[in-house]
């Protein structure tokens, strides 16, 4: 599943991150909830991947599963494998995972209001993990904290390091959260909706910062978002998620210019444009996402899909590349849009 694109899109011989058939199931009192259901991904060093999907499509759970924050336990079941720099994240001991976190992989969280401890100074947020992982002395870690604040574009870093989170604005706080994630030089950064809680003007700054840091530090980035606008032009590839599954996976420009899955096309069509005349109705997707406790048989998008046939409601489509497509795009649809167009032409 999803194997064809790996050889073509990934340039490095051994990918930094290789997830195969990952499924995360929460055992709830009302039944098993399949939040992530058979997702395969790979990411080379320095590459950026965007994961888009609407709320509840399993993007965040996928991010946390890839990182190993969600593991197999009494209330969750994680199957499949996640290889991070050659280590299987889910086969490691908890102590082994802790050594990966911060140094190999780090995460930027959604809400900078709650992802900083209100009673800890900014500097201590940064210096603690540096001392823990890199074994720096107190003075060295303080210098490193100031360097990090400088790196994420915070003015007067030495003064800011002595302040508490509530003394900083939302954008500044998110910069601190990014600095925390960068503290130990991770090779993979997972940004889970890093701009959702921020002002639009600040959103662009934070996204630009993430992009430039990724290029500067040659750090692979996974950008999780429900907003296609944040992904456009900033990632090498995009994976579109729907109800716990990948429905389309291709180069970013390819997805935007030539979406192949009806869901991707509908998502892109529902982005408002400035050049639309006033009072134009935005094309919205009819219906609601399926209940993950009891997902529909066959293609999960079928009940809302305009091109669905009987085949779609009975048989689940696999993520496959299109014949003759050398860009590595893959789509999970019985009636991909490009193919339909070719057939009619």
């Amino acid at each position: 599943m999803g194997l064809p694109e790996r050889e073509t899109v990934t340039s490095a011989p051994v990918p930094l991150l290789q997830a195969t058939d990952v499924a995360t199931v929460f055992r709830t009192p009302r039944g098993a909830m399949r939040a992530v259901d058979g997702v395969s991904l790979s990411l080379a060093r320095g590459e950026t991947l965007g994961i888009v999907g609407e709320s509840g499509s399993g993007k965040s759970v996928l991010g946390r599963t890839l990182m190993g924050l969600i593991t197999d336990g009494p209330e969750t079941s994680v199957t499949g494998s996640v290889l991070l720099g050659g280590n299987d994240v889910h086969a490691l001991t908890p102590a082994g995972r802790r050594t990966l976190w911060g140094t190999e992989v780090a995460m930027v969280f959604q809400d900078p209001m709650t992802s900083l401890n209100p009673v800890k100074k900014i500097g201590r947020h940064l210096s603690e993990s540096v001392r823990l992982h890199l074994g720096l002395s107190r003075a060295e870690s303080r210098d490193r904290a100031v360097d990090l604040l400088c790196q994420v574009g915070i003015p007067e870093p030495a003064r800011r390091a002595g302040q508490y989170p509530h003394e900083l604005s939302g954008g500044m706080r998110q910069r601190v959260v990014i600095a925390m994630a960068l503290a130990c030089g991770p090779r993979l950064l997972i940004a889970d909706e890093p701009t959702t809680a921020l002002d639009v003007t600040v959103q662009k700054q934070i996204l630009d910062l993430l992009q430039s840091l990724g290029e500067e530090l040659r750090m692979a980035t996974i950008l999780i978002s429900h907003d296609l606008g944040t992904i456009a032009g900033r990632t090498d590839r995009v994976a579109v998620m729907y109800a716990g599954r990948l429905v389309e996976h291709a180069r970013t420009a390819e997805v935007f210019d030539n979406p192949r899955h009806p869901y991707s096309r509908a998502l892109i069509a529902s982005i408002p444009h400035l050049d639309l005349s006033p009072h134009t109705l935005l094309p919205a997707i009819e219906g609601r996402p399926p209940n993950l406790l009891n997902p529909p048989a066959g293609c999960r998008f079928a009940p809302r899909c305009v091109v669905a046939t009987d085949l779609c409601t009975t048989q689940s489509p696999a993520l496959t590349g299109r014949a003759g497509d050398d860009t590595g795009g893959a789509v999970a649809c019985h009636h991909p849009l490009g193919a339909a167009k070719e057939a009619t032409v």
Binding site: T99, M107, T114, N117, E128, H166, M180
Partner: protein
């Protein structure tokens, strides 16, 4: 004095002068009411209370004029009382006080001496001629030592159990919840009496049994606060940076739980002072001749209180003022720390 003030040019603004005059007049009335022997008791009390009222009013005005409108005279008076009491407790051994517990040394002293606020027995003597001021101060020492120890032990033990229960949840939480609920189900006084019948009535034992009363409340508060903070993203963020569970509890959760716990602890001190006094009153706490406020009040049993009210009123006043002061200070602390945690 207050009539002259507006006319002469003084450095201070007139309201301050009026306020100072009020405070001074109040103090004079208080001293006059307390020390004039010719007056009958109700008149003394009335004059003294009027004096206290005037003094507090004047002091409040002076404070507001000098320190801004946020000045809270009751808080500062309470804090002053507690500081004074603390100093007296520390230096009580070196103060020139009368005998406090050796009855053999006081055969020549007057019995049931009335408080004169002057002389060798400022607060009078009891039925054995022991000095009431000395007894009250030594009593304050054991009272405060016991309640502070109990609160410290209860806060540390209860706070830690609460954090562990709130962070791990599941089985740990259920066991802890069951234990705190069963502890809360036992009436506190009956629990104390039961413990007192088993344990020797020494300072350490009384303190430990009183700390049992504080533990359930502390566990609940720290558990609830921990649960509220454990779901915040900074805990996940710390985990995602490779922090161990012990580190998360000590570095991320403890500092957040500390503030509400500390403000409950201050309020708990006053509760435990009363509890300790009740135990002593019932004869289950520290045993006479060693004085405590509770067993001093118990000396007024029978007809003694009617004939010599000061036997009960002196330790009662100490008890009242101290508990009142702790409540005021605790309330202030709670307001300050709560509003700060809301702002964050």
């Amino acid at each position: 004095m207050s009539e002259i003030a507006p006319r002469t040019r003084t450095a201070l603004a007139p309201p301050v002068v009026v306020a100072t005059a009020l405070a001074v007049a109040g103090l004079v009335l208080l001293v006059f009411g307390a020390t004039t022997p010719v007056l009958i008791a109700p008149a003394k009390a009335a004059i003294a209370l009027l004096g206290i009222g005037l003094f507090l009013n004047g002091a409040s005005r002076v404070g507001k004029a000098l320190a801004g409108p946020g000045f809270d005279v009751l808080f500062w008076a309470s804090a002053a009382w507690l500081v004074l009491l603390a100093l007296a407790i520390v230096f009580v051994d070196w103060l020139p006080l009368g005998e406090d517990r050796d009855v053999a040394a006081t055969v020549t002293e007057p019995v049931f001496g009335i408080p004169t606020f002057t002389g060798t027995h400022p607060l009078g003597t009891n039925g054995s001629g022991l000095d009431l001021l000395a007894r009250s101060l030594y009593g304050a020492r054991s009272s405060l030592l016991i309640s502070l120890t109990a609160v410290v032990v209860g806060t540390i033990v209860g706070g830690l159990i609460g954090i562990v229960a709130g962070y791990f949840r599941k089985a740990v939480d259920r066991v802890v919840g069951m234990a705190t609920n069963s502890l809360l189900a036992v009436p506190p006084l009956i629990l104390l009496i039961a413990l007192a019948t088993v344990l020797e009535p020494r300072l350490r034992n009384v303190a430990l049994s009183l700390s049992l009363l504080t533990i359930p409340g502390m566990v609940r508060l720290s558990r609830a606060t921990t649960v509220a903070y454990a779901n915040r993203e900074f805990v996940t963020a710390a985990r995602a940076m490779g922090a161990k569970r012990s580190r998360i509890m000590a570095r991320e959760l403890l500092p957040n739980v500390l503030l509400p716990i500390m403000s409950l602890a201050v309020v708990m001190i006053s509760v435990l002072i009363v509890a300790e006094a009740s135990l002593s009153f019932l004869g289950l706490g520290i045993q006479p001749p060693e004085p405590t406020w509770g067993n001093m009040i118990a000396e007024g049993e029978g007809d003694v209180f009617e004939a010599h009210p000061h036997i009960v009123l002196v330790p009662g006043a100490f008890l009242f003022l101290t508990v009142f002061a702790f409540n005021i200070v605790g309330e202030k602390a709670r307001q300050r720390w709560d509003s700060r945690s809301v702002k964050l």
